[in-house]
């Protein structure tokens, strides 16, 4: 099993869920008693708000869980090593032949040249300009 990618974040998210859970339960209980319609609406709204936040927190934790599963699978696949593929000598010879053909094809082309301005200029004198800069 791979390590948790971010145990501190997981703890923070779980702590937030733990705060929300009793609030949601209490609000749900409140919702069952006789209340004015305005108060009932206010309670219903807070149930929705807190349940949504709880769902989003749980979603992030689920994603962390999936990262652990994916990393475990990656390690099981041998990551980070990936060995050189061993093939039959005949196949390797064929491959080298193909590689030679590709080199020959590349040799058909030449790269565009680049203009190089020398970095070692020489200087000749001139009268100082009279016009101000810049």
């Amino acid at each position: 099993m791979a390590d948790d990618p971010n145990p501190a974040l997981r703890a923070e998210l779980q702590a937030a869920i733990d705060v929300l859970a009793p609030q949601i339960r209490g609000l749900t209980d409140l919702d069952t008693i006789s209340l004015s319609s305005d108060l009932k609406a206010a309670i219903d709204q807070q149930i929705v708000v807190r349940q949504r936040r709880s769902n989003l927190l749980s979603s992030v934790i689920s994603t962390l869980d999936r990262v652990i599963v994916a990393r475990t699978a990656l390690e099981a696949d041998g990551y980070p090593t990936l060995p050189t593929a061993i093939i039959a000598q005949t196949l390797f010879t064929e491959l080298k032949g193909d590689n030679s053909d590709i080199d020959a094809a590349v040799g058909v082309f030449a790269p565009q040249a680049t203009i190089a301005i020398g970095t070692d200029p020489t200087f000749t004198p001139q009268p100082a300009p009279t016009k101000p800069g810049p």
Partner: protein, 126 residues
């Protein structure tokens, strides 16, 4: 790069080519390939001329007294292209041109003397 306003700069122009293996070499300039230079500022004249060896070179000529950071100028970019459409060369970034005045070297000068009196010394010379 600074150039003094009393100087004309002559830069060699060549062509380079990089192989697939990443090796950069200088390649001959094909006959008929003509270089053209442009300057990002009218304060710096640029041209392409043949040097004594008959090779094309970039010639930059300061046309103003000063163009640098001190007067909100300088950083002049020079671009060289050619008739073959090769990748342009540039004097830019740290190589961009600043036109500077000739540094003045301070000289110590002795002023007109003023004489005051003193008692005659008693020690013999010299």
């Amino acid at each position: 790069m600074d150039i003094q306003n009393t100087q004309v700069g002559h830069f060699p122009l060549t062509l380079t080519s990089t192989t697939a293996a990443g090796v950069t070499t200088t390649v001959p300039v094909p006959a008929g390939d003509v270089f053209t230079a442009t300057s990002s500022s009218p304060s710096l004249g640029v041209a392409v001329a043949n040097n004594a060896a008959g090779n094309q070179e970039l010639v930059i000529t300061p046309l103003v007294i000063e163009s640098d950071a001190a007067n909100a100028g300088g950083g002049i970019v020079v671009t060289v292209t050619d008739s073959n459409g090769d990748v342009a060369g540039e004097l830019s970034g740290a190589d961009a041109i600043n036109i500077v005045t000739v540094p003045v070297v301070p000289v110590i000068r002795l002023g007109t003397p003023v004489f005051t009196t003193q008692p005659a010394p008693t020690a013999p010379g010299p």
